[in-house]
Symmetry: C2
Subunit: 368 residues, 2 copies
């Protein structure tokens, strides 16, 4: 079962919504941590539950290469395989194929690439990718798309968007035919070109999908460009469908996107930053290797209720990073995911109380 | 407060005992996981609590170099610094100075060595080491000793044992003068020479300490030699004092040592093995990278109640090791520490019920 309801509208184009995924209700706007290889790096499913995470992401391309989607299927699907019974969204891996593969060739029919693991040549169609994601057993499935860098030409971008729409159509057909559980979203491409985003959004809306992702952003463009693309893209999407901005996880960017009508987010930012000893705090970031923290008895964030902040000082976590103790990565990751999960919860609360403008001002003043 | 009581005697020289450390009761025989740098590798204090661990080990030499004992003191001591409110034993680091330092010179007065981190020259007396451990705030403090390799000559071993006794005496004096909290143990040396072990044990018994460690074993000798040294050493020690065999953590070795009258153990074995994808199971070890486990739905050990075995399959943990996910190290470590903690709990239960012989046979048959 999959359902999306807009519960309330707020400042700008912001929406408070509810995703029903199987028997689980997920309030939106929501942030989804990334677990590329069927594990959110450095934390356990129990950690994610404790943090309040409801839905996470994995990557079909990576799981296809290792351990293989059939293995996951044989072991009862991704939820059973990983012990995570919350929501699972799988990205197709289109972005990874284009960024990681040493050789790749996009043709009408599909994509040829080399595995970044062993160099072996692979060919995958959009149909293959859907089958892989159905085998994995994801709750939300992203189709194969063509994602370009920020500086791509109009011609390239047009070609990519056209193929993306064709592939989305084919993905929908095969998905219907397979009769898989889960829900197939689509992805709006078009690079930074308004006419292409419009055409792509219109074409996909006509085909009709239960959810619409905005892809091809956070690929090197400046922030004002990104906000602008979001701003003119969301009104082109069906009102009653969730909108998912792919690859965006900085609190400020999430806030700007929510104000422009986005409901779902994912990014490796909080987990990757954490492993590099960089954690979110109100007003910015804290670098945990900083010598100034050497004897700092404070928690990363004193008013934070995560396991890390309730139990450990900046001085101790700094020591763990300096001695490369594995616990360091987990503690920092727990904080960053909690910070972002809590940030979204506060944002939704502000939306409910029609105080999003105040929330925005508080954030800009470094209070959140 | 520190107190040790032998509650019951069993098979061979086995003893069931109770350590009172501050307000905490620790049943013996007990295994203490090692957290060299003030953190048991890959797990959190909460993980240790959940596993049932009551007392852990850290290393004065390592903490002196990084982050420095004064820093730990300024932050309220090791318990407050690390968030671990269970028992803390600090090893002096004598063994580490001798094994890690590129240059080391033992003199009557103390030891000169180079930091294995930056090569800087250091000189530490037994008094310095006690002061460091008092600053750290350990519950049980080990004095500086001289630990040799298995193939040392009688002359070398005699010299080392003599210095060890002198240093123990000096450690006791300074410890009294400082009036530190915690409890100072002593360490019996003498390599594999019975006459030297005897003399060392007698000398230390005369000085009188609240606890006696057997050092200088598990340094390259074969198992029968090790068991033999333990067998003739424990009767030389005061009956009413805890006996701590340093650096031994294999279940079979623990069992043999318990039968010979040992009460306390520590070793990096369970945690180091875990990070190398090797876990304890009844009857031996399981190599988690093994291709045969690729689709194995079983837990590492189906009847184990640890977090890992309650939630994850061998296939998934193998996948985590293959993809180098940090979660792999934590899950394997949790299992190994749980296995060993549970093994000791079963052993104590067998002791209580006067069934240690049966326990021994069950172990030998691979049932434990």
């Amino acid at each position: 079962m999959f359902e999306f309801t807009v519960l309330q509208k707020g400042e700008g184009s912001a929406r408070l919504g509810k995703l029903q995924i199987r028997d689980m209700k997920v309030e939106t706007p929501v942030f989804m941590p990334v677990g590329t290889y069927a594990a959110v790096k450095a934390v356990s499913p129990q950690d994610l539950k404790d943090i309040g995470v409801q839905i996470i992401l994995s990557n079909a391309y990576h799981l296809y290469l290792r351990p293989g989607e059939k293995l996951i299927k044989n072991l009862g699907g991704i939820h059973s395989f990983t012990g995570w019974d919350g929501g699972y969204l799988t990205d197709s891996g289109g972005f990874q194929i284009f960024s990681l593969s040493p050789l790749r060739k996009i043709e009408q029919d599909g994509v040829t690439f080399r595995s970044h693991l062993d160099g072996s040549k692979k060919f995958l169609t959009p149909e293959d990718i859907v089958q892989i994601e159905v085998d994995i057993g994801a709750d939300i499935i992203m189709p194969l798309d063509v994602c370009l860098a920020a500086e791509s030409s109009h011609e390239e971008a047009q070609k990519a968007a056209t193929i993306t729409v064709q592939w989305a159509k084919r993905s929908k057909s095969i998905f219907r035919r397979i009769g898989g559980t889960g829900t197939l979203f689509c992805i709006v491409q078009g690079n930074m070109y308004k006419d292409l985003r419009e055409r792509c959004a219109n074409d996909l809306s006509e085909i009709d999908f239960p959810g619409y992702a905005i892809g091809g952003l956070s690929v090197g463009e400046d922030k004002s460009t990104m906000y602008n693309v979001i701003e003119y893209t969301t009104p082109l999407l069906p009102e009653n469908r969730p909108r998912y901005l792919m690859g965006v996880g900085a609190p400020g960017d999430i806030l700007e996107a929510v104000l422009r009508g986005v409901d779902m987010f994912d990014s490796v930012l909080p987990t990757r930053n954490a492993r590099n000893a960089t954690v979110f705090i109100p007003g910015g970031k804290l670098l945990l290797r900083n010598a100034q923290l050497q004897e700092d008895k404070n928690a990363i964030q004193n008013d934070c209720h995560c396991y890390t902040c309730r139990n450990f000082s900046r001085a101790y976590i700094r020591h763990l990073f300096k001695t490369r103790e594995l616990l360091a990565y987990r503690l920092a990751t727990i904080h960053n995911l909690y910070y972002l999960t809590h940030f979204l919860a506060q944002l939704r609360e502000a939306l409910k109380r029609d105080r999003l403008k105040q929330f925005y001002e508080d954030f800009k003043r470094g209070m959140l």
